[in-house]
Amino acid sequence: MLLSIRSLTKVFPGTRALDDVDLDIAAGQVHALLGENGAGKSTLIKCLTGAYRRDGGTVTLDGAPIDPRSTLQAQELGIGTVYQEVNLLPNLTVAQNLMFGHEPRRFGLIDTRAMRAQARETLARYGLDIDVDRDLGRYSVAIQQIVAIARAVRISGKVLILDEPTASLDKAEVRMVFDVLRSLRDQGMAIVFVSHFLDQVFDLADQVTILRNGRRVASQPIAGLDRMTLVEQMLGRALEDVVAIPAADAAPTAPILRFQGMGRAGTIQPFDLDVGAGEVVGLAGLLGSGRTETAELLFGIRPAQTGTARDDAGPIDLRTPRAAIAAGFGFAPEDRKTDGIVADLSIRENIILGLQARRGWARPIPRAEQNRLADDYIRQLDIRTSGREKPIGELSGGNQQKAVLARWLAMNPRFLILDEPTRGIDVGAHAQILRLIRDLTQGGLSLLIISSELDELVAVADRVIVLRDRAHVAELTGGAVGADAIMRAIAGTGEAA
């Protein structure tokens, strides 16, 4: 075995993040690491890359015990890592990024010509022929990802760890990255692959290890394994629990919100949209079709230039997010990390943020009231945390999302927009959030949900609007809501009514 992990243990205050985990990684194999959020995948990776020091157990690489104290040291030992968000610098050139720390030098100075040549030659092996003198930030995420892989392989060359490398790539880009990974595997690299996408795991991996609650549940070759077994191992409970989401009750209600002819030049073409009380409206479409733009328009982030919004009482002002909030709207954006949470503040502070902003800062919410609210929502939404004062940045993605939901719910909105509410969230938390979404509407809250996952939309939405090329092109209601029909509408063939 190239990399051998025995009884690896890592303890954080209050939790055993890793408990006696064994893992063997062979050269020339893609080893998938699966588990729910909080299963210990990230901790395991961080122990291997030197970001954390382990509390117990042994790690041997090529037969020699290792104990990396820093990422740099791990890299030099032969363990390179590529993260979900590309960890290279957009303001440096491709060549600088690729060669940093290993630049060819002449008379103590960087030999730029040789550096360029080496960078070009390295990338050529990955089938990339790009201008290495341009800033890395000018290239697509897929190319950046491949440059990151090329750098990790160049420097480390034994074990390549990929932490959700495909989360922000589209299908063609994923194929591009996978081709690179396969050829690296064939050259004898050991690849550790963490992903939420089971399809990709089946597509790429040779071996799969499943973690749950910091323990290893199973480690097996992927050949002959079926999806159901995998999911069961990950979740450790019967699957019906996860998939069975109460069916949408399609009883049409009178619209409480009417948007008419709302549009913005260059962003989204004018559309009409009625939303009923307790109704869940889904927005489907490819990336860039105008889904997020629709949401931003309705929430006043990029306000509409045409059209009107009204409720029973009359017209509503949606020109700024502040006005939209005053009108009882809420918006949980797609990019949770930058737009949704304040990572350094506690869960409590994040939950009361919206409410406090509406009250005005001169009238602070009493601490006892804050605690009550936070505890209520932590319990209600099943936010997994050691306490309400924990910085929200330390929670897993699913739990952060629940806290963002809690913030809006605390404000008691009538219309909530959720942009990709389950992005980057694992199977278990995924189903939980979907169930939560359905529950919310029982109280009359109306929802607009944007999602790339058709099955998710089918499961929760009463009605699905399909977008294409920045326009609303189809609307599916009740029984017509199905993955096939949505797909047809997105593709533009046999448009549904």
């Binding site: 990422t71 740099l72 890299q75 993260y83 960890n87 290279l88 610098l89 957009p90 303001n91 440096l92 600088q96 990024n97 940093f100 720390g101 630049e103 030098r105 103590g108 100075l109 960087i110 730029t112 003198d133 341009r134 800033d135 930030g137 000018r138």
Partner: protein, 318 residues
């Protein structure tokens, strides 16, 4: 074309256009005399701006340099008055002092994870205070070696004087360019400015780089202090108030992004010369109040900030 270089081209374009405009009114402005003076008068500013460029590229700021220049002048003057040391020995001691001072600020910034703004602001008061402590009055420098330094120049065709300190500034810029663009340390500086967290993961030695950057800025401030002392022939604790801000302005007008990670050392040279040109123009004109210098520089700064913002938006849209 590399979008990163756009502000640099804009800087050069503005400088050339401004020079052409001044030339059309006062043809003498292209004489070697004026050019020689431009270099001499701005030598201390240019040198300190080299250090500032590196600091800003790394994503930081150094507010202490103006005070360090003043301290340096007073230190040199007092040392020469009160001790028998040769000026060169005094220079060596001074440069060690200011470099250590800068490095210490860098160390605090890195270790305590404190904002550079606050640490160097404290450094500014410290250095200014130390200068007062040495002498409140202006101290003239009478050492004959200073006379030699002041009269060291090469006569250019057209009777312009290429002075020692002017040449020194150009040499410092050359060194600065090599450091910024051709060394691993320089790449580390850009990397830190692009994102400290990521830079760390890529193996940038953050602590060492930060200490070196501020140490270098301290060294440049000390050198600038020497040049300023040679230029004025005295040391005065109230001198060069606000020079740190002028240096920052030169760096930004030179096309360097104030948030770090993007810019060129050469741009700063053009920035310094542009500011010098404005001053020269106003002297040539004779009717304009010298405050117009500040106003024009203010407008230029605004233009560059807008330009950079525009470029950022453009590249984000891609």
């Amino acid at each position: 074309m590399n979008a990163r270089a756009l502000p640099l081209y804009a800087t050069i374009l503005i400088f050339v256009a401004a020079y052409a405009l001044a030339y059309s009114q006062f043809p003498n402005i292209l004489s070697t005399r004026v050019i020689g003076n431009l270099l001499t008068d701005n030598a201390y500013l240019g040198i300190v701006a080299v250090g500032m460029t590196l600091v800003i590229l790394s994503g930081g700021i150094d507010l202490s340099v103006g005070a360090v220049i003043a301290f340096s002048g007073v230190f040199i003057a007092v040392m020469l008055r009160d001790t028998g040391l040769h000026p060169l020995a005094v220079f060596a001691i001074l440069l060690m002092l200011t470099t250590a001072f800068g490095a210490a600020m860098g160390f605090l910034i890195d270790r305590l994870a404190m904002p550079a703004f606050i640490v160097t602001l404290a450094g500014m008061f410290l250095a200014r205070g130390a200068a007062y402590l040495l002498s409140v009055q202006s101290v003239p420098i009478t050492h004959p070696f200073f006379g030699q330094l002041q009269s060291a120049y090469v006569l250019m065709p057209g009777k312009g004087r290429l002075t020692l300190i002017g040449v020194l500034m150009l040499a410092v810029f050359a060194v600065g360019m090599v450091i910024a663009h051709r060394t691993r340390f320089g790449t580390s500086v850009y990397a830190l400015g692009g994102g400290a967290q990521t830079a760390r993961l890529m193996g940038v030695p953050q602590g060492r780089t930060t200490v070196l950057v501020y140490g270098f800025s301290g060294l440049m401030a000390g050198l600038s202090g020497i040049v300023f002392a040679v230029y004025t022939g005295s040391g005065y604790s109230l001198a060069t108030v606000g020079t740190e801000l002028t240096a920052i302005a030169a760096v930004v007008i030179g096309g360097t992004l104030l948030s770090g990670g993007s810019g060129y050392m050469f741009g700063t040279l053009v920035g310094v010369l542009t500011m010098g040109l404005i001053q020269t123009y106003i002297v040539f004109d004779g009717t304009l109040s010298s405050w117009w210098t500040k106003i024009v520089i203010g407008l230029l700064l605004l233009v560059f900030i807008l330009l950079q913002k525009g470029l950022l938006t453009l590249s984000a849209r891609r």
